[in-house]
Symmetry: C2
Subunit: 224 residues, 2 copies
């Protein structure tokens, strides 16, 4: 059974948001020959797409071809991508014909702009969680998570959390044993303990109750 | 002070071996505006270079331009790259004009083929450590490490260990505080505890002394 993975990128995307999950699917497919994961990198203007590092990844034009899973990268270019009408229309159209949709890091802002996260639990990079909650009060933002699944929509914390998210997608498809073997090949932890607060001085401080607590939803005080 | 980073890739390279370190240098440069790290992806046939995942990264031709650091990726294409005369000549020439050279994952086989690891301590992906030790008995292979520095030559364990290695290079350049902030932005552990055996059933079993112990240098029995 083939599961086509689409990875959506845009100018100034975070290279690792896209390549972390790609490496997971490539590795999982080798660990389980019966389940190939062909990966297609997609964008609105095909060709080399520049990442925030200056390094370019090749991408094809977003198409109507069937996908099993769409993964939306984040990065500095998220701001522009989340107001790109073609990108938003593509994502809204994909929902109907795709089994699941995921975002990595600030890719959650693009899913939010497309309306996919309304009424759902979601996460994003720790440094942008408060902004996501403020911009979209209809989303239940949980800042201290590595990834969150809410039905068919998955969101991850910052950058390398996309690797954890992709491993969880593989586990959901092929079982824990294959996902764990892929993690071993990639030399990453399978199911990191705890949330992303351990990677953020801001979120760590916040656990004890700071002025960010109400917005982040982490503190012990009530909002308002 | 600008430190140009060259990242050497080849057909069938492991995408994450290259993009993990690239993301680290990009992030560190943003955390410390005084120290930009321009990244140049290099190969012997410039243009889009296909990774083992099928996804293509753009690369320029290897050049004589000065580099501060050269990082050599690994992956399935290592076998061909390590017998590519142009690649080996490039690496040997780079040694004289570059402050340090590093390999990620099985990129160590390319450095080994160029003679750079002779008499040195080095590591590679856990699944290939025994092969490296067998092919190059003059290298002191240490399989259970995340990365190793031996003078100007750095080598890392498998795939995502390239992120750990790049963070160590940044710490060496800009101090621990900047490297730690880059790790927080990327949502990765700074200085993972232990070696890569925790990611390998093979190496874990080996710790208790198996038939691989003499080759891997991990067991309690003497070699021979």
């Amino acid at each position: 059974m083939t599961r086509a993975i689409g990875v959506l990128i845009f100018p100034d995307f975070q290279l690792l948001d896209a390549t972390g999950p790609i490496a997971v699917f490539d590795t999982a497919a080798r660990e389980c020959a019966a389940a190939p994961y062909p990966v297609r990198v997609m964008t609105d203007a095909p060709g080399p797409v520049i990442s925030s590092s200056g390094v370019q990844l090749m991408a094809e034009h977003m198409s109507d071809d069937p996908l099993d899973t769409l993964i939306v990268a984040g990065g500095r270019g998220t701001r522009e991508a989340s107001v790109c009408l073609e990108t938003l229309a593509f994502i809204r159209a994909v929902v109907a014909r795709t089994r699941r949709i995921a975002s990595v890091c600030t890719g959650a802002f693009i899913l939010a702009a497309a309306g996919l996260l309304d009424g759902r639990r979601a996460t994003t990079h720790w440094s942008r969680a408060a902004a996501l909650a403020r911009l979209y009060p209809q989303i239940h933002v949980e800042p201290d998570r590595i990834f969150i699944r809410d039905g068919a929509i998955w969101t991850s914390a910052g950058v390398t959390a996309g690797i954890d998210l992709a491993l969880a997608l593989v586990a959901d498809d092929l079982g824990e044993a294959i996902a764990k073997r892929a993690a071993q090949q990639l030399v990453v932890y399978y199911r990191r303990p705890g949330g992303q607060s351990q990677f953020s001085a801001l979120l760590q401080a916040d656990r004890s109750g700071s002025r960010f607590s109400p917005v982040l939803g982490l503190g012990t005080r009530a909002i308002g």
